[in-house]
């Protein structure tokens, strides 16, 4: 892959824990990945797999009782773990931006769009209000909102869901951040709007050179959008590599099962392939390989922690990876 390109984001052995009455929950456990300039990484997993928590950890938005317990997060070489809250706040919205899942909820209902966009600019730049408004208008135009000047003085309820998500994207792009974290931003939208927004995000990232982490549970989205994929299961990364490597030659049985259960890949008239059992929470996951009690290939050795094997920038955490000859 683009290992020659310098990574914008480098996450090493990240651990995020939550202290609950039932014990310490490792929401993110030993997660490592990196994203380069202009690159899009899909972070895939089921609900509760820790993918959103990984995003929040990078943003420094983990609230107590949660905390980043270990590991390193580097943005352009600068360590973010342990950074003073005020310094972290300066980075948020400026060098790292986040786009959230629900476009209906992500804008403040009582403030006009221009107010919300201008405060994002003014929080980080010493520019006049007029200049801030111009930047907001340009950002709206960039994400394809017609008549941006008029739209600036509208309220969120006057926008459709797709339009609101475009506004949220425009806000994220305002300060031309190095890294944008998208937490399932198109899940709540209908398919045509979703495709438009995916396409636009891809173009915008390529143009601006921002790195993108796209958190999703939808493999189809990843296939069309991302350059690299990281698959999470119960707080751990189980496989990562380029989109082609992971989706066409999945090594980890979980990735394989995930791909097999995408409806369009199943022949008509046959029951959908399913993964047996329930996705465990980080509290109930078994020791050793966390997927072992649902895995068809599991053996006794899986009760110990599996090693991470790598080949050609493609790595997986499994004792019994799937190779072509096994299929």
């Amino acid at each position: 892959m683009d290992s020659a390109r310098e990574p914008v984001l480098e996450v090493r052995n990240l651990r995020t824990e939550f202290a609950t009455s039932a014990g310490v929950v490792k929401a993110v456990d030993d997660v490592s990945f990196s994203v380069a300039r202009g690159q899009i990484m899909g972070l895939v997993g089921e609900s509760g797999s820790g993918k959103s928590m990984t995003g929040y950890s990078i943003m420094g938005l983990i609230d107590p009782p949660g905390r980043v317990a270990g590991g390193s997060i580097r943005l352009n070489g600068r360590e973010l773990v342990g950074l003073a809250p005020e310094a972290m706040r300066q980075l948020r919205g400026e060098r790292i931006a986040m786009i959230f899942q629900d476009p209906m909820m992500t804008l403040n209902p009582v403030l006009r769009i221009d107010t919300q966009m201008m405060e994002a600019v003014l929080a980080h730049h010493a520019v006049g209000r007029r200049r801030a408004r111009e930047m907001a208008r340009d950002a709206l135009a960039r994400v394809g909102i017609p008549a941006p000047e008029e739209r600036l003085s509208a309220y969120p309820h006057q926008f459709s869901g797709g339009m609101r998500q475009r506004v949220a994207i425009a806000i994220a792009l305002l300060n031309k951040p190095d890294l944008i974290i998208c937490d399932e931003p198109t899940t709540a939208l209908d398919v045509t709007t979703q495709n438009q927004i995916l396409y636009e995000m891809q173009t915008l990232c390529r143009e601006s050179g921002s790195a993108l982490v796209w958190i999703t549970h939808d493999l189809a989205v990843v296939a069309g959008l991302a350059d690299t994929v990281a698959v999470m299961y119960a707080g751990q990364l189980v496989e990562q590599g380029s989109v082609r490597q992971v989706l066409e030659q999945p090594r980890h049985p979980y990735t394989r099962a995930l791909i097999a259960s995408v409806p369009s890949r199943n022949p008509r008239g046959r029951p959908l392939a399913q993964i047996t059992g329930m996705a465990p929470s980080a509290l109930t996951a078994p020791s050793g390989c966390r997927f072992r009690d649902r895995c068809p290939r599991a053996t006794n050795i899986c009760a110990t922690s599996p090693p991470v094997d790598a080949e050609d920038g493609h790595d997986w955490r499994c004792f019994h990876p799937v190779f072509e000859e096994d299929r």
Binding site: M59, L61, R89, Q90, L91, R92, G93, E94, A97, M98, F100, Q101, D102, M105, T106, L107, N108, P109, V110, L111, E119, A120, A123, H124, A147, E150, R151, S153, A154, Y155, H157, Q158, S160, A168, I171
Partner: protein
């Protein structure tokens, strides 16, 4: 999709608010009463506090009687000192409404600030503020006000302080619960994600979204503050006799009520009823309009 610049939250609110005829009437009545109270020195036929203007010969005249010097028609009769009841009511309304609004505004400001701090900060600060509010709310309001006034003596400033002490906990509780609800919403997270300062997040994003329930409570509390003040004055613990509020006027006429001289208590009572009812109707409509469950956003 067209963008109507007039379609602001305020415009939508006003449209919804004035769609009810009762609300329009109640608002008009309240405005009229407030206006009459503010303009009392200009429109009252007599200055009821100026004892030189009172004629003891006009004592306890029936409504509609002419004064002994023939200059004045007592539309609502006179009290035992020959004071024009209409003038006394206008001046009394002035004090009652001023006390009601001032104490509510101050209690709202205090309760809102404490509640928002509790809701946003959490932890020990929250526990401390909310336990004090709980203790406060476990006593009946009239008891707290009575104790405070018994200790401090009567006076406009003192009764306002007593009313603030009685009311702030309602706002603190509501503000905290609203802040807790709003804090969990995604736009708060998004605001944090933009790197805005905590102060700005609280004032610009959290506060405006917490206001609707507080506005409703404040509107209802104005009415209850006015009636509580009237109660305290009636009991002789509220305002001094030199500044009679509606409660004191009712109390003055109380002893004559059964002897047929009904108007000394009746008309101030009517004015009080009208004020409290109008405020309650306005508050009801506010609640209906601002209730998120009845809103189709």
């Amino acid at each position: 999709m067209t963008v109507a610049t007039s379609d602001t939250p305020l415009a939508r609110f006003l449209h919804a608010y004035f769609s009810s005829r009762i609300a329009v009437i109640a608002t008009l009545v309240l405005l009229l009463l407030t206006l009459a109270a503010i303009c009392a020195p200009l429109i009252a036929p007599q200055n009821p506090y100026d004892l030189t203007k009172l004629d003891i010969m006009d004592s306890r005249l029936e409504p509609g009687k002419v004064s002994s010097d023939g200059k004045l028609v007592y539309l609502m009769g006179t009290d035992e000192q020959g004071r024009d009841m209409l003038s006394a009511i206008l001046y009394g309304l002035r004090i009652s409404i001023a006390v009601g609004f001032a104490s509510t505004a101050a209690a709202l400001a205090i309760g809102l600030a404490l509640g928002m701090v509790a809701g946003y900060a959490g932890g020990r600060i929250e526990s401390l503020i909310m336990r004090v509010a709980d203790i406060q709310l476990s006593f009946p309001p009239i008891l707290i006000a009575l104790v405070l006034l018994a200790l401090s003596g009567p006076g406009v400033g003192k009764i306002i302080i007593a009313l603030i002490a009685v009311q702030w906990a309602y706002y603190a509780r509501t503000a905290r619960s609203a802040a807790l609800v709003e804090r969990g919403k995604e736009y708060m997270e998004a605001a944090a994600g933009l790197g805005l300062s905590p102060l700005r997040i609280v004032l610009r994003h959290l506060l405006p979204n917490c206001l609707p329930p507080l506005i409703v409570i404040a509107a209802l509390q104005v009415a209850s503050a006015i009636s509580l003040e009237a109660t305290l004055s009636f009991l002789g613990l509220g305002l001094p006799v030199t500044e009679p509020s509606l409660g004191l006027l009712i109390s003055n006429g109380f002893q004559y009520l059964l002897s047929g001289t009904y108007w000394i208590s009746f008309y101030p009572g009517l004015a009080l009823l009208l004020t409290v009812a109008a405020i309650n109707l306005v508050a009801d409509q506010l609640r209906d309009v601002l209730n998120p469950r009845l809103q189709g956003i």
